[in-house]
């Protein structure tokens, strides 16, 4: 019997995502994913203040945001895309391609604004190409974006080989290194504004409701009059655009471009989204959840960094965090059903 239940849940994730009754009681509210994440976040924060005397310095905390802001900016549209049952594994390669073409444009004498447009434009085109392949040929997004992941970064390698671009014009460094006020960096402020924007887009507009409808069931959404393919294309374009923006910020921050820039970021971005409570099967998830998960991952890595834990060991912790985050609610639900 348990096999039947688990398989049918995997078969129709959308159906399982609709609860039998509305979450009204205090217990339901407390067991909400965002609340659990927030509790974790507070715990990690307190732990960090105990472990390192350098942690609570405002400039230190501000510096810490640089490590995850660019990934977090991609995680926002990625959440929408995954809610709509698609995925984009090519975002890190899109960054490489956008950054490379920005480097080429800078070499040709483009100014900061032109470079911004090049970055955004390349990202948008890369996203549109993914979306076009997925929707026109009815292909699984994961396969298409594994292909374009090689393709986009491959083009970077063809252009750059073992060379790099390193001369960017005066003023361009503001995007990645500038401060808006006191410790608030331009990057981080931009992320806060975008998070608010994506939160409103997903939770307060018809666009957001369409996204959920497609994630719950693309067929039903089509019969409800939603142009599913066009909506998916727009989501892919949005992810590409934000990857282009991340490329501008990253290139500006580190001031150079190599073809191996941002390697492996796609997995970190997806980890952020899934940790934030977005169902990888689509149909459910929230921007506040992703928002908290971004900070949780940022704080965990920053805290470990202060303790001189090497990056590869942090990867183990992130991996455990990811699996634990997904397994815990499933196990709790199973125990609750038994009890």
């Amino acid at each position: 019997m348990s096999t039947l239940v688990s398989t049918s849940r995997r078969e129709a994730p959308g159906i399982a995502a609709i609860p039998d009754r509305l979450p009204v009681g205090l217990r339901d509210r407390l067991l909400r994913w965002e609340v659990i994440l927030l509790a974790f976040l507070v715990l990690v924060f307190l732990l960090n203040t105990q472990l390192s005397p350098y942690f609570l310095d405002p400039w230190n905390l501000s510096d810490a945001t640089f490590n995850f802001t660019e990934k977090a900016i991609i995680a926002l549209p990625m959440a929408l895309l995954i809610i709509a049952r698609d995925i984009d594994l090519s975002v890190a390669s899109t960054i490489a391609l956008a950054s490379t073409l920005m480097g080429a444009a800078a070499e040709a004498g483009a100014g900061p604004v032109a470079l911004l447009l090049v970055g955004l434009g390349v990202g948008l085109l890369a996203g549109l190409f993914n979306g076009w392949l997925v929707t026109t040929f009815a292909l699984p997004a994961i396969v298409v974006t594994i292909g374009t992941m090689s393709l986009y970064r491959g083009i970077s390698y063809i252009i750059l080989g073992d060379q790099s671009y390193g001369s960017y014009p005066e003023g361009f460094e503001y995007f990645g290194r500038g401060y808006v006020a006191w410790v608030l960096s331009f990057e981080f402020t931009l992320f806060l504004v975008l998070a608010l924007g994506f939160g409103v887009l997903l939770h307060k507009t018809a666009f957001g409701r369409r996204t959920f409808a497609i994630g719950q069931g693309p067929e039903a959404a089509r019969f409800a009059g939603i142009d599913v393919e066009r909506h998916r294309l727009m989501l892919f374009a949005l992810v590409g655009l934000m990857a282009g923006l991340a490329a501008v910020l990253l290139t500006s921050r580190i001031g150079s471009t190599r073809p191996n820039i941002a390697t492996g970021w796609e997995l970190e971005v997806i980890t952020m989204v899934v940790l934030g409570g977005v169902s990888i099967m689509g149909g459910s998830g929230t921007i506040p959840g992703v928002f908290i998960a971004v900070f949780l991952m940022g704080l965990v890595t920053f805290g470990m960094g202060l303790l001189n834990v090497p990056g590869i060991v942090m990867a183990i912790v992130i991996g455990c965090l990811l699996i634990g985050a997904i397994a815990t609610p499933i196990l709790i639900r199973r125990l609750a059903r038994r009890g």
Partner: protein
């Protein structure tokens, strides 16, 4: 059933012809590519990718995916290398048994989390990928194990030649043969196709789909473990980053070979030819004087092209429902799938 199998046979035949034409085209530019020695080298160089693609194919057939294979290769490879550096005289059979055992355990962890707890495979293996790779570092603190520290038998075994072919290539061929028999001629093999083609129907016909999922992850882990030893022995060095991101090449080989990521469709010949295709591209570029930096872009373009060409069979039935003529086609292919 017949119309699908002819379609599949044609697809593999077409891919085989393309690989052959590619080899001949490269040979026309650089005849040295067609010498027996060079062709054996091509096969040997592709063997590990082939074995991993076969393991990955079984996972994909069951509607799962295993992103942790390359990390499994790195961890198992490091464990066998450390073992060899501490006990250089260890018989090769024990080294291989250890590699298979460690790989199996790593695969079983994936399989258990997927089948028993019901977490989507892509999430699980994304997590274990980081964990396994990180464990290599924990094991060594980032130290390398170099060839002079490894045992003589440890290094010699895959290189030994039997009837003109190195043992490494023989292992790949035997595994391909074994997988072909397993998938096409045993009950377990047919159950994998059933579980991936239509899990609901498979369940109703008495197939424990969760057990199948567990078993395919075990098999994939087992083969990855073996490749861990083969990799370290072939390149004669073990460090944290070996086979980094190789899982994507493995999945790419499957995709080029026409294995449907939606599960239930694919063949051993497809996986082998897909791997061979990538191998030919990789080995041919330096011979015809194209910068190796082109390799990634070319494989990307090939994957995208292969996916688009293979796409016709994968259109969802829901899209065709209003077109009368296509209903029969959709039903036909669905029936054949189950």
């Amino acid at each position: 059933m017949p119309d699908l199998s002819t379609l599949l046979r044609r697809r593999e035949l077409a891919l085989g012809l393309i690989v052959l034409l590619l080899i001949l085209a490269v040979g026309a530019r650089a005849p040295v590519f067609l010498t027996p020695g060079s062709l054996v080298e091509l096969l040997t160089d592709t063997s590990i990718l082939m074995i991993l693609a076969i393991g990955q194919m079984m996972v994909i057939l069951a509607r799962c995916i295993d992103l942790s294979v390359a990390a499994n290769v790195a961890l198992t490879g490091m464990i066998t290398a450390l073992l060899s550096s501490h006990m250089p005289e260890l018989p090769i059979a024990i080294t291989i048994a250890v590699a298979l055992g460690v790989g199996l355990v790593l695969g079983a962890i994936n399989g258990y989390l997927v089948a028993a707890i019901g977490i989507p495979p892509i999430v699980i293996t994304l997590g274990t990928m980081s964990i396994y790779r990180g464990s290599v570092f924990l094991l060594t603190g980032g130290e390398w194990v170099n060839s002079h520290e490894m045992g003589r038998a440890f290094l010699a075994f895959p290189r030994a030649t039997i009837i003109g072919l190195p043992v490494l290539a023989w292992i790949a061929l035997l595994i391909a043969l074994g997988a072909w028999y397993l998938l096409g001629h045993t009950r377990f093999g047919r159950e994998i196709y059933a579980a991936g083609g239509n899990p609901q129907a498979a369940l109703y016909s008495g197939i424990r789909t969760d057990r199948i999922q567990f078993q395919v992850f075990c098999l994939s882990g087992l083969l990855a473990g073996l490749c861990g030893y083969l990799w370290v022995s072939r390149y004669a060095v073990a460090y944290v980053e070996i086979a980094m991101a190789f899982e994507l090449q493995v999945i790419a080989a499957c995709v080029i070979g026409g294995i449907s990521i939606a599960g239930g469709i694919g063949s051993v010949a497809g996986a082998v030819l897909g791997a061979l295709f990538l191998g030919v591209v990789k080995n041919a570029l330096p011979i015809i004087d194209i910068s190796p930096f082109w390799q990634m872009g070319i494989s990307g373009a090939v994957i995208v092209a292969a996916v688009v060409i293979n796409s016709r069979g994968e259109r969802r039935a829901g899209r065709l429902i209003l077109r009368e003529a296509s209903i029969a086609a959709a039903r036909g292919s669905q029936g054949a799938r189950a």
